[in-house]
Amino acid sequence: MPMKKGSKEVLAKAEEYLAEIQALAVKPFTIMEVCGTHTVAIAKNALRELLPPTVRLISGPGCPVCVTDSSDIDRYLHLAAQPNVITTTFGDMIRVPGSDKNLQALKAEGADVRVVYSTQDALEIAKKNPEKDVVFLGVGFETTTPTVAVSLDIAKREGINNYSVLSMHKVVPPVLRLLAEDKELEVDAFLDPGHVCAIIGTKPIEFMAEEFGKPGVVTGFEALDILEAVVMLLRQRQQGRSEIEIQYRRVAKVEGNPHAQMIVQKVFEPVDASWRGMGLIPKSGLGIREEYASWDAARKFSLPVFHSPETPGCQCGEVLKGRIYPTQCALFGKRCTPLKPVGPCMVSSEGSCAAYYRYFQRSDD
């Protein structure tokens, strides 16, 4: 979101934050932004340029598209190619490459693939096409999952039996734990995802500060939000604290959104899930509960499990773990571009590689 034009106060506030950052960043401080939307906001506002060299922002596994495993992608492509299926999806998934194609190419071959803005639209399509099977590709973290849970609950309640969801949903805390446990990871603090926490609250991520001593700030998506969060993290360091604080107070509460938690709990259950480049993470995914089995595309279509190799050469895994910058991948900007992405990090506009490609290329590249 670009800022309101000509806002002198915003500029003044930003300068205030930057001055404090400058003052506090006496030694190197590495912050990982977990959320892809933060990656994009940082890139769009060119914040890295404004920060002192001691403050390093690295991007984590925060794009649900990027972390979707090749096997899952090949699986939904297999499903989308079925003759009687209408595949509904958020626009983000259209170009994600599986082993050899993507939804966009499948659509060009004749598959009925429709971009929707909401699961409500997908349900509408199901109602309007009773003779077709309408599948929604359930991709997303805690922010998105409740909207998919609601759609499944409605489908069950209203008997919309030609609607189903292929759940590839994931949850954030287990991957944070994985990161925290990683000895090689050199991250001092986290910008925690504002919208995920708007749903789950801060409790599920408090272990980061308590168990692992990694401070975190639940952050909003304006440039000022992010700068303020950096200030808050630097202050924690200065004061020797390790807490999960909320910068994004107008939206995120300690307790999150209980309605959303309830519906997710009702429809989904934790399952182990493969993350692109990070492997299987226990209880990091959400499967559809037995009670909703008839609306679970995986069961309904008896979908086989795919074992697709990782895209050769793609270092998404390393990027997602914050071990390398996207530009350090040998394919970046060469064989891998947003137009012909090799890895999923290049696909979604909030994918780390795509965000870098779009906003960080230097004129001397």
């Binding site: 670009p2 060119a46 983000d92 190419a105 060009a108 803005y117 440039a223 947003p338 137009l339």
Partner: protein, 330 residues
Amino acid sequence: MERILMAHGSGGRLSHELITSLFQKYLGNSFLNQMNDATILPGQEQLAITTDSFVVSPLFFRGGNIGRLAVCGTVNDLAVSGAAPMFLSLALILEEGLPIAELEQIIQSIAETAKEANIAIVCGDTKVVERGSADKLFINTTGIGYVSRTLVNPQQIQPGDVILVTGTIGDHEIAILSEREGLEFETPVTSDCAPLNGLIDCFFQTGVKCMRDPTRGGVATTLNELAQQGGVCMLLDEEALPILPGVKGACDMLGLDPLYLANEGKALVIVKPEAAETILHKMHSHPLGQGAAQIGVVMEGKPGLVLLKTPLGGKRILGMLEGEHLPRIC
């Protein structure tokens, strides 16, 4: 088997690839290779020619319809090339089943817009295809103009030049998206669809070096093209971009960037710095130039590079449109 994707028609990078790998490869010649909005033809009277097909859906939208669009699109390509739009061909592809009343409304609108743009429709063609073989109505217009002005083209662009836009950006595409099936929302935004030759007549003067209408692919893609063709680097000022609140709100909602949205009644105008103020003033004096603004400058730097200065003073690269400009949630 490689197939045509929707993204090949986005006006972005894949469209450019198709042009290079297929059209220039087989058809390339000194005319086609001009790669401007209109091609300048040789002859006693210098002619400019341009062609466009219009496939917009829905046919009617806030602020216009496909007929008005088909006239404006071609008139504008001529006008931004520095030509006076003179003659227009009109070719219709009708889908069986199209209500004739709708066709009549569109033809009426074509007549009115042609009059408004002071261009004569000189030849036509009508084809009908089976229901399901077209989306209601496609229109091609090809336009011819006389070039009487000093030449404008991207080759004249130099560091120091100033980038103007004649008004708010993104209006047209938001108006269209708001009526797209499955995406419907109510918006205060109307398409900017208008013939620009009157406005250009009003502000044109020495110092105008290049003009282009930022249609498919939007301001960002068009400036990338100009920067490449002119071999220059550009710097836009994000805060200076004229954007309606309704366009901003809709973009936020859909996860889109106004810089990549199509416009149908706006021109990007690159001018000598010393002429910028006068020209901007003249733009403001015309009804279609009310929102005109200086949005950037041409700089020394890597040829083809377009940068954007953020409100906080950072700079980032503004690339071409990649793939389709789809609504997204991420």
